[in-house]
Symmetry: C2
């Protein structure tokens, strides 16, 4: 394909995407296919000769689209939003169009410098303390774009591990590092994302998973008690992961209590605000950030609640040297004369190569402005409260946890079984898509406001569907119940996208 | 921005990208700016109000472009190619347009299924043994898209670590895991990419870095000797990383010799073909794959030598259960009724969420066809040999290592110092961009054929520039030499993008 054909095909693709999003309601929100559907539709071997573009695009519509779950659909209320907006799309287009790789400052200076700048912009926008920003000459902090919250959690754990091992080796220079490692303890809440457990597994450190309070919030006293117990056993508490906006119910760990405990034990405090972090753009929503000044690192994902395409997880650290010391394998490697004066982001994360992801953030922030982003977030919060009001109006339902931001957890008063049947039947119908969670051993249904331009009508429509299915399920016949259990879209537990 | 404006701005962006690539020669290949240039051009704070699209795009041209290193420029001969083609760009556009997240089969079935299919296509295209493919019912193998070769190396090391720890725990059930870990040894060549050292650091395992032979190839006898030594010391050899197409000079470790040694010691053999892997699409270039049947895992990067945008590193494993056992934290998590019958790629890598990257590969392979990709690869090989012939014609130069694929390492006969000056002066001129490497303690200059549509004229032009600068440097005055050392674009050592 030469540039002339690209001009044509690219413009057709722009229209295809705009048409797709304009008419997305005409599609079923979840696909009605079974595993292996695509294998039967496409050849087993790659084609020997070039194929025509028309044939490829025909296959997109005929073969790919029937297997797509439409995350931007007005009836999609599962997980959390998959960030999406036209300026973000244009940023991705341009970044790919440039086709440069930003592993060091010298490899493409604009790629690195714009990243530092937008991370400072965003840090200020969400009210992070100055210590996390890089703009001041004397700051040891700074921000970086990672691919996912999972990576943020993992690299923060690596930084904490490296720092603690260095300290322990000073005290016990002749003890094998593997033995030192075996004494080190990390902590998180039961409501933390599974990526924390995965990070601990990858980092080969022990993780204690703690009980949150009745509102799914990890409290300082709980943490202090187990840390004291562990220290008394000769173990070394070194890392605490907290969440602002948990996956199950958007609960908030109590940073203001946990922070001083981490300080007392010299443990690294990481704060994962994957979903809720974007909401801190609104000053009135910053309450849960109280205590953030104790954090060693913080992340949130514009690819969830800030209209930016995945992958885009922003991470800030209070001491960038502690982070890079855990990831630099050879300080001379790829060095250039400006190494002292510039940031080489390859030392801030797992991969060497990096895409020009700062462009999409820059485009989104400038196109919407702070006020536009605030309006989007406040709209979602308002719509969630509208949904909550619907639930509360009807006595056979209950709201299962305090409502925060765009997420409402609700259930039919009754057994877990009937709620599972309700959700399975709704999902199987293709009329709405939601996923479940487990709160205090109760099966609850998560309703998340996801679509960028969600309206009151979308909320009212969803509630009407839920009410009807609830009535059906409550009056259901046995053979229908049996069918529900075969629904492919009923995960046991919720996972956030991150 | 609504869909109407997106239709306009998207089409303008298509033209902007096509214009950029059509006229890229008018730009300087490397930017002439200093660290911090962008901070002075953009505000310290994000805008409160939305900005006009015209203003944003004006800033792209005025502020971003002057800081971009143009990887698609005909004068760019640094690192390895950054994969780029119009079909790949269209695939990225569509994937982002759909805006779905593919962490499980159910989260967007097409996203998962197309990935499995194209990985089988590509596996066959490069001649991988059937054991790595997933199409057969009884196969335990399979392929996955990772973000970078660094991730492939790291997760393969994690899989090997988990497998070995399980085995050791059976033998020594009462020994602390940290102690078992401290006995485990990984191996790679001095010519392996730095990501191997980084992976070992992250995985907390010991790594022995071995001397390759005079052609920068790691040999079986070297490996066998150190593994025997280590075993005699009570250590446990568990992982060997080999490279097909090293960063410095595109050398190939000797798989046919190394494979049986790994088998003898029960060690996991990973083969990183980040750059060279794509060349195996051409049957006549598959010689270095001899022994691949011993590998436990293999990766190559279409985002280097197969015209596909970063990020796109393909990884195959012979036993997918060994891989996922190292990364699944909770087998019930996000489970759906089809978990048994479908692949959930979130268990195959570090992040949970995943982009729809299979689309761009599918578009590239279908648009070019196998024959089109073969032609592209053979053209680059032919152009590298043309460059090699230029070097050999002129007695003051020497070819520094056997020429493989699109890479030629050469130098002026003489000191390292004069070669460093030559490269610095060329890079500072902005007329060409190349990076150095160190081979047997000699400073060499790497010339890589990078541009998709590179021509004989591009090669001849580059050689003419090099010749002229060589003459200047050989006759140079002291004050010019001093300037060379201030060149920002002279890394000490080469890094591949990956």
């Amino acid at each position: 394909m030469n540039s002339e054909e690209f001009r044509q095909r690219g413009k057709e693709m722009v229209d295809y995407i705009a048409d797709y999003l304009d008419t997305i309601e005409e599609r079923r929100v979840t696909p009605a296919i079974e595993p292996g559907y695509l294998r039967r539709l496409v050849p087993d071997e790659a084609p020997q000769k070039p194929e025509q573009w028309e044939d490829i695009m025909k296959d997109v519509e005929d073969k790919i689209m029937p297997g797509v779950t439409h995350w931007q659909h007005p009836r999609f209320h599962a997980y959390f939003p998959a960030g999406d907006s036209y300026p973000s799309l244009l940023g991705e287009m341009l970044g790919n169009g440039l086709g440069c790789i930003g592993f060091s400052w010298a490899a493409s200076p604009a790629c690195t410098e714009l990243e530092t700048i937008v991370l400072d912009w965003l840090g200020k926008m969400v009210g992070l303390p100055e210590q996390f920003l890089s703009f001041s000459e004397n700051s040891k902090g700074g921000g970086v774009i990672q691919g996912s919250a999972s990576e943020c959690v993992f690299v923060s754990m690596l930084a904490a591990r490296a720092h603690t091992i260095r300290q322990l080796k000073k005290q016990h220079p002749f003890v094998e590092e593997g033995v030192l490692l075996s004494k080190m303890m990390a902590y998180c809440s039961k409501e933390a994302h599974s990526c924390v457990e995965k990070a601990a597994m990858m980092a080969f450190v022990k993780l204690r998973i703690l009980e949150p309070d009745e509102n799914q919030s990890l409290r300082g006293a709980t943490l202090q008690q187990v840390m004291q117990e562990d220290r008394a056993m000769g173990l070394v508490p070194f890392y605490v992961e907290t969440t602002l906006g948990t996956t199950s119910c958007c609960s908030f760990d109590n940073l203001a209590e946990i922070g001083p405990v981490c300080e007392e034990f010299g443990a690294w405090l990481h704060v994962d605000g994957a979903y809720a972090g974007s909401s801190f753009i609104c000053p009135e929503l910053r309450g849960p950030m109280r205590g953030i000044e104790y954090a060693s690192s913080f992340n949130f994902n514009p690819n969830k609640f800030m209209l930016t395409h995945f992958d885009c997880s922003l991470m800030w650290v209070r001491d960038r040297f502690k982070l890079t010391q855990a990831l630099v394998v050879d300080p001379l490697y790829l060095q250039h004369s400006y190494s002292e004066k510039s940031i080489d982001y390859r030392h801030w994360g797992i991969p060497l190569s990096r895409r020009f992801r700062a462009l999409k953030i820059w485009f989104v922030v400038r196109s919407f402005g702070i006020e536009g982003l605030q309006k989007y977030i406040r709209d979602h919060c308002r719509l969630a409260r509208r949904f909550e009001a619907h639930v509360r109006k009807e006595p056979r339902f209950e709201v299962a946890s305090p409502v925060h931001l765009g997420l409402v957890c609700f259930r039919l008063r009754g057994t877990n079984d009937i709620n599972q049947k309700l959700l399975s039947s709704i999902n199987a119908s293709g009329k709405l898509h939601m996923v479940p969670a487990s709160l205090n051993d109760k099966y609850v249904i998560r309703f998340c406001v996801c679509r960028q331009t969600a309206t009151e009508e979308d909320i009212d429509y969803a509630w009407e569907v839920i009410r009807q299915f609830a009535t059906d399920v409550q009056e259901t016949k046995p053979e229908i119940i049996e069918n529900y259990s075969q629904d492919p879209r009923s995960p046991r537990k919720t996972g956030r996208t991150g």
